[in-house]
């Protein structure tokens, strides 16, 4: 096996073919049944395609978990101008590394998903917005787009269906905020990546003022499989409300970090101790961030019975986000890691909204002070108060995301903060 991050409990639907360089070629993809779903979809009514995706229960894999079929049905049925589909490949949430794998090992899977999505929402043009750092990945994707054009899967009158769809790969230039859907559209239009106030929602006024849908790479990659095998087939995995398989990006202090495709609803402890091989000898679990840096931290105790589906993680006190599971063992300096995440948000704040622009900087400065042993207990109250003022008060959720790990870590690891505040004096379990 070329791809080492595999485990017998995995269900490899989207990740099938990873680690096999032939899969990225058109020929290799077709050998796995590639583009048959596209041919099938083009023979279906658009509404049937949407219904099939609705029936699968597929939810957006970019973090919000909104049902994909429902999102598509928001697009106007009467076309008054061009429609656009944006594939969000601006993967930059700390802890997330699935889209890059999908793009570089299975670029045709991404393209096929984009084309079916575009057909369903009557889009004339698909823009695949890749983060700028993905030089190697976008080269592969560009080559795949070229191949698909040559073979007639993209372009005019696709497979003789009378439908025409173009696909363009766009490379960003290093801004986390462009992963937010309205900022992505601004960036695509040649603007600074500033999120827009909603409404109007993208389905009404999106890229270039036209109806637009933005879907995550992983979401679109699931679509061809659903079209080929049917929505019911997809529901064989996962739970009633969180169906299907999900790529779990596991990073941090486990023996075998990596991408694992597992059914939603998979138990967190099984992921940590079985699939990822647990911790180095003598170490134990301290905390988990289950959905990328933007979601609240879970304590070891909260992880015990947590299942990894959208509802299960909420029940445990956090969010599944894009299933980027960051695992920390008992050697972790929580305050330092929270400070590092807050630094990230301070760096990436677009600066439009005052609570975020100022708040992230303040959080960062106070945390640096605590980390360096110059903090006070009142600082913790200030941090919490700031966090409250930063939550729900801005155009997008970057501000909320910066505040979430601060508030949750003070709540759950207060002793770690106090230990630093009291200059290393041992407090509690820390």
């Amino acid at each position: 096996m070329a791809y080492p991050y595999t485990h017998e409990k995995e269900v490899r639907v989207l990740s099938r073919g990873w680690g096999d360089p032939t899969t990225r070629t058109l020929e290799g993809w077709k050998a796995l049944g590639g583009y048959e779903a596209l041919a099938k979809a083009l023979k279906m009514e658009r509404t049937q395609v949407i219904e099939e995706v609705k029936s699968s229960g597929l939810r957006g894999r970019g973090g919000a978990g909104f049902p994909t079929g429902v999102k598509w049905s928001f697009m106007p049925k009467e076309k008054k101008g061009p429609h656009y589909l944006c594939c969000n490949a601006d993967e930059s949430e700390p802890g997330t590394f699935k889209d890059r794998e999908l793009l570089r090992w299975t670029p045709h899977q991404v393209i096929e998903g984009c084309l079916i999505g575009a057909y369903a929402i009557q889009a004339d043009h698909v823009y695949i917005y890749c983060r700028g750092e993905f030089f190697e990945t976008t080269q592969i994707l560009a080559r795949a787009v070229e191949e698909a054009y040559e073979a007639g899967y993209i372009g005019k009158d696709i497979l003789g269906s009378g439908h025409s769809i173009d696909v363009t790969v766009f490379a960003g230039a290093g801004a986390y905020i462009c992963g937010e859907e309205t900022a992505l559209m601004n960036s695509l239009e040649g603007r600074r990546g500033l999120p827009r106030i909603k409404p109007p929602f993208p389905a009404a006024v999106g890229a270039f003022g036209q109806p637009t849908t933005i879907n995550n790479v992983e979401t679109l990659c699931a679509v061809p499989h659903i079209i080929t095998n049917g929505g019911e087939w997809y529901r064989q995995w996962g739970t009633e409300k969180s169906s299907g398989t999900k790529l779990f990006c596991v990073s941090g202090h486990v023996r075998r970090p990596g991408n694992y495709e597992l059914p939603l609803g998979f138990p967190m402890d099984e992921l940590i101790y079985d699939v990822c091989g647990g911790f180095q000898d003598g170490r134990s679990l301290k905390a988990v961030i289950p959905g990328g840096s933007s979601v609240p931290i879970l304590s070891a105790q909260e992880c015990e019975s947590c299942t990894l589906d959208y509802e299960g993680v909420v029940e445990a006190g956090s969010m599944l986000g894009c299933a980027s599971v960051i695992i920390m063992d008992d050697t972790t300096n929580i305050v330092k890691q929270v400070r590092r995440m807050v630094d990230f948000y301070a760096h990436e704040s677009c600066g439009q909204c005052t609570p975020c622009r100022e708040g992230t900087q303040w959080l960062s400065r106070i945390l640096v002070r605590i980390e360096n042993g110059r903090g006070t207990e009142e600082d913790l109250d200030t941090l919490l108060e700031l966090g409250e003022q930063m939550t729900g008060t801005t155009i997008c959720v970057l501000s909320d995301s910066a505040a979430a790990p601060v508030a949750s870590s003070i709540e759950k690891f207060r002793d770690d903060y106090l230990a630093l505040i009291r200059r290393g004096e041992k407090v509690g379990a820390a």
């Binding site: 080492p4 997330t96 560009a142």
Partner: protein, 227 residues
């Protein structure tokens, strides 16, 4: 795969562990070029090839020149192809700035003005956009721009130490360029390679699973590439 076995592999006399994705514990039977997709991609034409992929670019050209003309010859063709993909001229702004950086190695204020002129945009507007995005180098960088991820997943596994090792062995300070003009070392936010910490981006290439001990060998490899 052990270090010694890797060193004996043919084309990639690679003194660093697992070029890409393979992880410390995994089997590793692909070549570096198979992982990176070099064979599949081939040599991208300067005019950008098919318009659908024309705005993807191979980062800085090897023989980049701060005074190179922008948007001439094949680059003019590429810009035309890019413009044909969007309903507005403004949408070609990021791709055009990317091209300027590819040719010149950084985006100077002069470059911004040239981009503004060719797209019919105001100078101040282009400057506002160019300064928003972190990947535009506002001043010249070394032959190799080394960006070390120190965000949470890499940080948990020693990203700070890897950064320190790069600074030490390249002989430079954070954000500065070494005296030989070869290396500029910076911190970077999450590179989306969190399962293979520490992730380092050097010009267009990812180097993953880098530990402080790997750093001298990585730098030697880069030195050999320009020798």
């Amino acid at each position: 795969m052990s270090d010694s076995a890797e060193k004996s592999s043919s084309r990639d006399d690679v003194p660093f562990r697992n070029p890409g994705w393979a992880g410390n514990t995994g089997e590793f039977d692909l070549t570096e070029s198979q992982v990176r997709g070099d064979d599949y991609v081939g040599v991208r034409p300067l005019d950008g090839g098919h318009p659908g992929g024309a705005s993807t670019y191979p980062y800085m050209l090897k023989d980049r020149d701060p005074d190179a003309p922008l948007f001439e010859g094949p680059f003019k063709e590429r810009l035309e192809k890019i413009r044909s993909r969007y309903p507005t001229a403004q949408a070609a702004l990021l791709p055009a700035l990317n091209m300027a950086q590819e040719l010149r190695g950084h985006v100077s204020q002069e470059s911004m003005k040239e981009v503004a002129a060719i797209l019919g945009l105001a100078d101040a507007y282009v400057r506002g956009v160019a300064t928003f995005y972190t990947m535009y180098n506002k001043r010249p960088v070394g032959r190799f721009l080394i960006q070390v991820c120190t965000n949470i997943s890499c940080n948990l596994c020693g990203g700070d130490e890897v950064l320190a090792a790069f600074l030490e062995h390249a002989g430079t300070e954070l954000g500065e360029t070494s005296d030989d003009g070869l290396f500029t070392v910076m911190e970077v936010e999450c590179l989306a390679a969190c399962g293979t910490p520490t992730a380092v981006q050097i010009n267009s290439r990812y180097f993953e699973n880098i530990s402080p001990d790997d750093v001298p060998a990585v730098l030697d490899r880069l030195r050999q590439e320009v020798a």
